[in-house]
Amino acid sequence: MTDEPGSGALRVASPVDDADRQVLVDLGEGRLDALEELYDRYRTMAYAIALRITADAALAEDVVQDAFLGMWRHAERYVEGRGSVKTWLLSIVHHRAIDAVRRRKPATDLPDVDLPPPPQLISGDVWPEVAGRLDAIEIRAAMGTLSDVQREAIQLAYWGGLSQSEIAERTGAPLGTVKSRMRLGLLVMRRALTGATGEADAFEGTNGMSEAHP
């Protein structure tokens, strides 16, 4: 796997992100006004994610508060990284929301949310910065290019917090099929977002195109 995927449009440093980084520096110095600024910038998006996952307004509030407090506490740690502040924050919100939901199901094993993301997921040239150019409608349009089963698999994982085995169980599809659906769904969405046509296809060949319906 030596392809350079996403040499398309998914990598533009934005002025917004520079401003975010300055906020993080201020945050590292313990300035409450920086926390307030960060909160004002991302509170509606963070709350939307938490609410969607938890479907519980009080729990969603806790999740958002904990996520911003995490930034407040660990701002210094971030500054050493290179990714988008927004992406970092939103992934913390997502992790915590999923964690909160799984916590309500006592039998469920919990992943370790303490672990920082691997470098592959935080390097600055990977995480897309084009958010300013794409609105929710365009992104939903990109999701519309997924097949129903791909979208279902991705949504059960990302919004439902289900593991791929649980998705297989729930949908009655073999585990391998679920993996393919998630993978292809992400690649299809990537292609729709970037307008790229070539590189993404390189990944699709490796897993086959199995869409078997049991």
């Binding site: 796997m1 995927p5 958002v64 506490r73 939103l90 919100v93 094993d109 998630m182 690649l187």
Partner: protein, 284 residues
């Protein structure tokens, strides 16, 4: 569990979506941390994931969340957030060390931090800091005294207020708080004390003068509950204000906050929160 590169590629989509079992998840992380291969597929697939979040319409969180967040943040790092008034005594262990994502366990740790546990020295320290803060402020005030009687009156009013705070602070089971500026537009700060019988006394300086029906409203925030109004006061040209309530619901770890309200009788705070501080019990 040790994974081959092929196995990691097979798990990549589940990994970036957070859909792996914990043991698989940590095995993938372990592999990525050491593998010579760049595993570009992880980046390619992972790069899409933030857009899933962005497909949502933004939702405005409840208005009280901002105040709670800021109060909790200020309570964690009071020394750094204070403007001129250095509390300094409550440095959370390891707060400056880089730690991985906050864990659920930290929630308990934070609760413990906010709660009692300053120890018996806290009150003595508090008194020292109150006096130091008062002295500093007096010096600043005197330096800018220009014969305006308002300033003299303000200095006297603040001293009287601080004396009242100290009186309550020395009662058995009393709690004290330093209120530090929480909004960039203000340098307002002050001290407060709360007694078990519900008495809450607050002395503030550097507040903007109130006009019309405006009042400064004091709030107590306990845990995750909505802020409860304690009452309001007006401020003259001197910028000082003292406040006395006899039915305060204060308890250790509670946050005292101050907002500027357009009229008396507010039931929810009008943001921004101007100053806030966390009550700590003495003598336990």
């Amino acid at each position: 569990m040790t994974l081959s590169c092929a196995e990691v590629r097979d798990l990549a989509a589940g990994f970036v979506l957070g859909a792996l079992q914990p043991d698989e998840d940590s095995a993938v992380r372990e592999h990525l941390a050491t593998c010579q291969d760049a595993h570009a597929e992880v980046a390619a697939l992972g790069g899409v994931v933030p857009y899933l979040a962005e497909s949502l319409e933004p939702v405005e969180p409840p208005a009280g969340l901002r105040a709670r967040l800021l109060a909790a943040a200020a309570a964690e790092r009071p020394a750094e957030s204070a403007e001129g008034v250095h509390v300094g005594a409550q440095e959370p262990a390891g707060a400056s060390e880089p730690v991985a994502f906050p864990s659920p366990g930290e929630r308990e740790a934070r609760q413990a931090l906010r709660g009692p546990g300053w120890g018996t020295w806290a009150l003595r320290l508090a008194a020292v800091f109150v006096i130091a803060a008062l002295g500093t402020w007096n010096i600043q005030l005197q330096a800018r005294l220009s014969g305006v009687s308002d300033d003299l009156a303000a200095a006297q009013a603040y001293q009287a207020g601080v004396a009242a705070v100290l009186e309550v602070a020395t009662r058995s089971g009393a709690q004290t708080a330093f209120l530090a500026a929480a909004d960039p537009a203000t340098t307002a700060a002050g001290v407060a004390a709360a007694a078990p019988d519900g008495t809450v006394v607050l002395a503030m300086h550097d507040l903007a003068r109130t006009t019309g029906n405006q009042v400064y409203e004091a709030w107590v925030i306990i845990g995750e509950a909505a802020p409860v109004p304690l009452g309001g006061f007006t401020v003259g040209a001197g910028g000082t204000g003292t406040f006395h309530a006899s039915t305060g619901l204060a308890q250790p770890g509670a946050i005292l906050a101050l907002t500027l309200e357009p009229a008396p009788g507010a039931t929810t705070p009008t943001l921004p929160v101007l100053t806030l501080g966390s009550l700590a019990v003495a003598g336990t």
